[in-house]
């Protein structure tokens, strides 16, 4: 008499498969190089937002320093390839594992904190990481950044054109989205959501809350590190300034504007917040003002985020599939 109908599993997969099909078909319509560039940046931001949503949307843990891990992934990859001549693939592997190690070291102590205190500790971590990017000038090139970072390549095959970059980035995004969807329908995903609901009840029900919080913290840092590697090989350059406090605030805004705790929130939020500055570029003097006003209006009139507007999309990421 099991009634959680199998169709919910299919109904969760279909929108994702359809979306990825569209993403795959987009270059065939061959928009110009600039559009592919923007779509590439959208992909990187969606991957970052999806990772952060695991931590904040699924497990309810606030982070105001997530851009620091994005920077760590970018700098480790950049320094290894540009300064030490490593081939990009092993450099990327070390970047992701290195960032996860740092995230584990940071997460273990700080995830005992809650609410604004956790937000402050993660904010501090992000600022410290950015100061390291600035001060280790011999390695990172300091404030003026690291130049001549090579394109991503696997053996002989080099990812050079915006089209190739587009496919590389969005294939990583696809893996990230599938992982997030699977996690949302799994025992671990439910446990994370229980931690968000009531940490003490989850702990007493047998969920090792501290270990799970650290695990999802490291997983979201891994997403950020992959995004960092893609970013540094995409623009062949990296500087400290996007990874500071305002960078983390932008990532947080993407998740919340898109719809925190929903599956499609990060995809929508990541896309909107990447395209918005491009369109505001035309209003040169007003750009800063309009950006702030749009943020306020969205949060006032769409508090649950844009994902909540699409009725048929599953409102919550965690569903009894």
């Amino acid at each position: 008499m099991l009634r959680s109908d199998p169709t919910t599993r299919v109904s969760r997969w279909l929108p994702l498969v359809a979306f990825l099909a569209v993403v795959g078909a987009v270059p065939a319509v061959s928009p110009n190089a600039y559009a592919l560039n923007v779509l590439g940046f959208i992909g990187i931001n969606v991957l970052l937002a999806t990772g952060l949503n695991l931590l904040m949307g699924y497990a309810g843990q606030v982070s105001l320093g997530h851009a620091g891990f994005w920077g760590l992934g970018a700098y480790i990859s950049g320094v290894l390839t540009a300064r030490f001549g490593w081939p990009p693939l092993p450099a990327a592997a070390l970047a992701v594992s290195g960032t996860c190690l740092v995230a584990f070291g940071v997460g273990l102590p700080t995830l005992r904190l809650k609410g604004h205190y956790l937000a402050m500790a993660t904010l501090g971590t992000g600022v410290i990481l950015q100061v390291l990017f600035v001060q280790c000038a011999s390695l990172t090139g300091g404030p003026s950044g690291l130049v001549d970072v090579p394109n991503f390549s696997v053996g002989p095959f080099e990812v050079r054109t915006p089209l190739q970059n587009y496919y590389l980035i969005w294939s990583c995004v696809a893996i990230g989205l599938v992982g997030a969807l699977n996690l949302s329908m799994s025992r671990i995903g439910r446990a994370l959501n229980a931690i968000k609901g009531s940490e003490v009840a989850a702990e007493c029900a047998g969920v090792p809350t501290h270990e799970y919080k650290v695990a999802v913290f490291v997983l979201s840092a891994a997403y950020a590190a992959v995004a960092g590697t893609l970013y540094v090989h995409f623009i062949n350059f990296v500087a400290p300034e996007p990874f500071g406090f305002m960078g983390s605030v932008l990532l947080l805004t993407m998740v919340v504007v898109g719809g925190i705790g929903t599956f499609w929130g990060p995809v929508i939020g990541g896309s909107l917040m990447t395209v918005l500055p491009e369109y505001l570029r035309a209003y040169e003097g007003l750009e800063v003002l309009l950006y702030g006003l749009i943020l306020v209006l969205v949060m006032m009139f769409v508090p649950q985020g844009f994902a909540s507007l699409f009725r048929w999309l599953p409102r919550r990421a965690i569903r009894g599939a």
Binding site: V22, N32, Y34, F41, S144, I235, N236, E287
Partner: protein, 390 residues
Amino acid sequence: MRLARMASIVLGVSLMLLAGSARAEEVRAYRIGAIFSLTGSGALLGERMKTTVEMLVEEVNRNGGINGHPVKLIIYDAGSEVTKAVEAANRLITQDEVDIISGAGNMSGLALAIKPVAARYGVPMISNAGARSIVEPVEKSRWAFKSHLTDREVIGRAIDYWKSKGISRVALLSDTSGFGTSARDELKLQAGPSGIDVVAWEEFDMAATDLTPQLTRIRSANPEVILCWTVAPSGVLFMKNARQLGLQQILMHGFGYVVPKYMQMAGDAAEGAVLVSLRYPVGEQLPDSDPTKKVILQYNAQYKAKYGSEPDVYGAEAYDGLLMAFKAFEKANSFDKEKLREALEHLEFIGTNGVYQFSPEKHYGLTKGDAVVFEWHNGGWKLLMDATTR
């Protein structure tokens, strides 16, 4: 199920329409792209640069363009952020398909970020920023040129001035931007060989609100002169805090701080401050034998006629940078980027800041002799050491 599939397609397509936008074809003009910082910490530098280049393009188009081609100028704001500068460069090259980038970021950090983008697509780039590594080493800077002096020449000129005054104990207070760190590396390189003893190396954040801690450390090293290297408002605090601390030494600024308003804001703390800079600010005081005097006076008159306000040294840098682009089009008389690059490498002309001579080995046109030294005295610049190039 059908509804879900249809909705996702709509989402995907809307994303696509958002990005691709058809561009109408127009008479092939010479397209010049410019990236300035009109917001953020470098905003002050960008303002006069933008109005100056717009004035020049308007004037050139009024006289029938170059070689009969009209000139189209596209300006983006890099907001003093390196990432925005790279995105703007990508947009100029891939979407607006510019032939040359003039004014690649008025801050060293931005120029260094744009350089690889221009190199990857093979687009000549003229920067107004100071850092030497924009055009050095030459093998790695095929497509990069500079209209400006480099910090090496200015530091070299400062050392000339110190030697002429018999000064040997110096302190450097540089900000943590690309501009500041590049100057620090230059001073490290040149101080030793020229017998200058740098007794204190201090740094500060561009948004610092109080420099007394750094200046207190400098005081205990008792230098004869303190050189501050920044473009940020905290340069005013440098002078005020120094005088408050009772430091009597000569206060010096690099060529990023030649802004009368800052001097007025520092009040009498700025009296006697010494600056090493391009010729432009002391244009009127130059002897008539200096060919740049005529160009400077003509630029001032033209700018005041159009905007009714005074231009500044940053506008003058952009003036020379755009002049280089115009002359490159004139000489190459083609859209081929390799030809434009060739033209730039053999360019010689007189700008507001000196007699420019480029060569395949030297992608910047000025020499140490083009720098002058002057001081802020009774509310105005007073020439102390004249330029030597004629």
